[in-house]
Symmetry: D2
């Protein structure tokens, strides 16, 4: 199975088409990697009916099991198969990278994360606890032969290694890459998108970044920031079997409760682009802050952490809503054509936007 490396030149982004959301400023790359430490890489499987992949996201480049970012999960619509969320909610922290993939490859990716964690932490399941792999997914069945379970542990390991080799603050490859390879969104080609917002707190610059795996939305219901609705040229009449995963990263210090409040606003961004969080769509948000970390080997009984003044949290809510909305548009804008199972394709939003026909 050939693996495609990350695209050499980044796909055209949403802002290149004039698609911008909200009034807040973006970070320098308008990407989740505007949060220092975050790394993203993809392994893309592109071989006939196999159009799928793995996306690896590292909250930081260190040993996540030893140095756990405070995290939270929010289930907007739980028709999904993500794993690891329960422990994130109980302990308020994550302890592995986050892998994104297709629905039926979750087990394989979870096992890959387990092996990855054991390799770095030989005490797992021996003298210390086990490990909670974090894998999130969407169903790329319409384009990908999902029954083939084509993603291997080696693919997942390659994505993890690729992410680790990324430079801090690197551009994020978006569109039909990694887990986004076979995804569809509002009848168009979907995939990976990202966006970020800048915030100033106590005089210092902070960021909130979002990465989405966009595979949701009924054809005809996509809503652009100016209110126009955009439909694909030929309406696919298959029932929607979508989902969307929203990952939020920030360097604003938040406790678990605050983080959950923030990422809940992913639902606002999804509503703005035209979704009502459909029944069949597993709409899940996961967030973490790099500004509060839990040391697995901490010896002190009492720890210090920081949180944002709740009177300022609307800034984060707004950033979350805006960045989620724009990250979805980014996935749509950047998506390049894919010919999948039985020759299935999805039109690219960029074609409509380039020629200005509908919008």
């Amino acid at each position: 199975m050939p693996s495609t490396p990350n695209c050499a030149e980044p796909a055209k982004r949403a802002r290149a088409f004039g698609l911008a959301c909200g009034r807040l400023k973006t970070g320098p790359r308008n990407a989740i990697t505007d949060v220092a430490g975050v790394r993203v890489a993809h392994v893309t499987l592109d071989d006939g009916a196999i159009q799928t992949g793995v996306t690896a996201l590292l909250p930081h480049a260190g040993n996540l099991y030893r140095d756990k970012p405070v995290a939270a999960a929010e289930v907007l619509n739980g028709f999904g198969k993500s794993v690891g969320l329960m422990q994130v909610e109980e302990l308020g922290a994550l302890e592995t990278p986050i892998l994104l993939t297709n629905t039926l490859s979750v087990g394989t990716c979870a096992t890959a994360l387990v092996r990855h964690a054991i390799a770095a932490n030989p005490d797992i399941g021996r003298s210390t606890a086990t490990v909670n792999p974090l894998v999130m997914e969407c169903n790329d069945g319409p384009l990908n032969d999902i029954q083939a379970l084509a993603v291997t542990e080696a693919d997942a390991a390659a994505a993890l290694a690729a992410a680790l080799s990324e430079a801090d603050g690197a551009e994020v490859a978006v569109g039909s890459v990694g887990a986004g390879r076979g995804m569809s969104c509002f009848g168009f080609k979907g995939g990976i998108g990202t966006s970020s917002r800048r915030l100033k707190l106590d005089g210092k610059r902070h960021h909130l970044g979002v990465l989405v795996l966009a595979n949701f939305g009924r054809p005809g219901e996509l809503c652009l920031p100016d209110g126009r609705r955009v439909a694909p040229p030929a309406k696919d009449d298959a029932p929607e079997k979508g989902s969307v995963i929203v990952i939020a990263a920030t360097d604003v210090p938040l406790d678990h409760r605050q983080l959950r409040r923030v990422i809940r606003r992913a639902g606002v961004g999804l509503a703005r682009v035209g979704s009502f969080w459909g029944h069949g769509s597993g709409d899940i948000a996961l967030g973490f802050t790099t500004a509060n970390r839990i040391d697995h080997d901490e010896r002190a009984d009492i720890l210090a952490l920081r949180m944002v003044n709740e009177h300022r949290i609307d800034r984060l809510f707004e950033a979350m809503a805006d960045a989620t909305q724009e990250a979805v548009l980014d996935a749509l804008a950047a998506a390049t054509p894919v010919v999948g199972r039985d020759g299935a394709t999805r039109p690219c939003l960029s074609d409509l936007l380039n020629f200005g026909s509908t919008p």
Copy 2:
């Protein structure tokens, strides 16, 4: 304290201004009373700095304690003081009318509901359980002297009596009435709004209706269905201290879990009108179905109930999102001017819509 009866002539509704949401058909009155049995009435307090009131909503005209509709509650943003939601979530049913009022009058209205229930059910707290009053609220402090705690038990009782005397399927008075008297919304005068959607299931006509108490949204962020943003002429610079209550009624049979899924989509409607569920806004949804009832005195051990085929639930999600969105616009469209505490006022959206200046 003078009490104003329901307006003789209904206020102008959202659709009179061309404000309509979604593609589904409305019920005959485009109101929550399109769900058979539902009754709504208001007591409005209008006396100088006292600009507040009570709105009573009866899920049906019978003894609710004896004949409890299946119900569910969903907290979108829990910065609010509604009472009764915990038991609704545990038992999946409501057992009193729903009262809406200002934040600081919740205790008084709860006591009024307790007395109302005891009067009809003398066994309460004697040979049977106690009763769970259901009161929901928004903060009308900017226009109303909320510290006066002006709403009395008699006002609440009058609203309940007025609702009971309503005919089945009556029009709902909307705008600056009842609990909506002193409310503000996106910098405009807010208040009570309603809308409904029609659904066909197994060949039969059903309805989902929504009533909102709209008191949320930052000036400048109101978004009309065509995507245009509307700001009040002079921006009020007071920080938002809003909230919004969304009540959903349906005659579609749903179990508690399904009902909660449906009413969660209130959040979509609120996002569409321009909210990101702000920190200071208690955004709460409560729903009930008249098609599944719990008999307090049931003797059989096993009961029958009905539920919708989950493959069809998107219709209800869409209806809920659309009706919530439109009910908020309805509240804004119907709101008439109020001069409140210290002469405070809010512009009426209808003035802008009538003269077509901004939109």
Copy 3:
């Protein structure tokens, strides 16, 4: 309506009967007031069929609206009518004293808390937000004429004033006092009980204290710490319509998520004394820490807080389970006879324990 002040001499406590739970040491008073700052007082209504009251608990003696302890709520069984929990869960803090009373007096006590907060904070509902009153309840209907709604705002205000006048670290009156006046527990006379546990963290002494309003449990199912079951002499055949409120206070720094984990273990203590969290019993836990406070007028954007090392949290779980179990036994041990509505009474556990008949 005569009001009985706090008992001059404290009732006999659980340990006086050899009823002790677990292996951890108690605080000096074995009471919730072992957490510095916590104050408790009661107003007891004792007049024929009126056998009820109010218990006020202050997390600290200052202005709680200005200086809010981090707090959490956990609903073990939500068949109850407590108010204020939703906001505690959203914001992770409380902002008023906690009032305990009978089920149908919740509205009155909520209004009293609103007035109490406005009196100290004239900006409420004017230039700042409204206030979230926190009232918790059990149904004392079997002994008290609960339909009389006998508790007045003045009673609630008197309880608040009495609590404020308590010295720091004072003994807590327990048994048939305050809200506990008319309560029943496992067929015995119930009421107010308390207990505490001592913890050492980073070499410093800390405490976790519990206060319960015990009104739950089926006759015959009470289980003493040594495993013996104790039944009342004559079994009351009325169906259980109980509830139990568990308030936990600690000076261990915890964030909201940790606090919720800790107070969830109230359920363990209740199970140990013989409850299976019966359907009709509103079993609710509320907890706060005095070691993390939110300043309502905070100007900094980023705040510091502390939390316990999660590897040590089992100590708090154990303390919570043990102190809850013992606080229930304390309520039973301390309860003195009450003759209520229609001459109804409940046997006192202390009579059995004194004479050693059953256990």
Copy 4:
């Protein structure tokens, strides 16, 4: 890797040692298979340091994806890695068998369930939705070389096939079998246990059955039904890294909300045997009812289901608490010696009970 079939002769059960819980009658086998249709089988890996396995539980012998039992999940303490619970909570139904295994084999078992579902339902991920595998786990690291990830997809498939070949109402192999092979409980050898209770509703006989994977509890804190505490002869000083999975089956018709209320009482049973739901223990309950089924291919818009009269639900609460408690004791009573990684062993409770030394 040799696989051990189910034991030919059943292990000695808890009642053989006089360990019985509560006052309700058991079903004929005192096992989860007293609920008609339920099947259980194990694949046990017993090879030096590899002491682990898979347990398969079928809610019924048909195609679960096509005929989904109503189900619910309850997280008592979410320090665990079970997968599939989110969708169960959203949709209120399960659609695959339940596999139990060790923590690090969850991914492999999830993939096995996916393949198993696709084999029976070739439309998965093609013309219909994907599938939600349900895998629950405990950490058997102290006895098993968990880092070996020894469980294969073939092992999982074998367990599924073995369960399908079981007769309806067969005995359940308990003790150190299947997923229970390497488990520890209160310092003793743990594993699989089961118990059931009989209920009469509307004159008809019903059952609630429980199966546990018991791997929790601190040495010295095990509490027998008569209140006596039992400690293992030599205290293992390793920190607890346990967990317990509680599966409940019933043929009483319940809706999702009721089922969740019922299975929550697993926590009562666990508390009674001496647990306070320790920090490191993933304590998870999953329940289903065979009396309400969702047809995946249902064409009607409105469906009928049945639920229990909530006034009778205490019977189910009591059954759940009692059966959970007894199932844990059953696991302990039935556990046979295992020599695991580095020669590690756990004493068997049966040895103490047989010789009557401590209890």
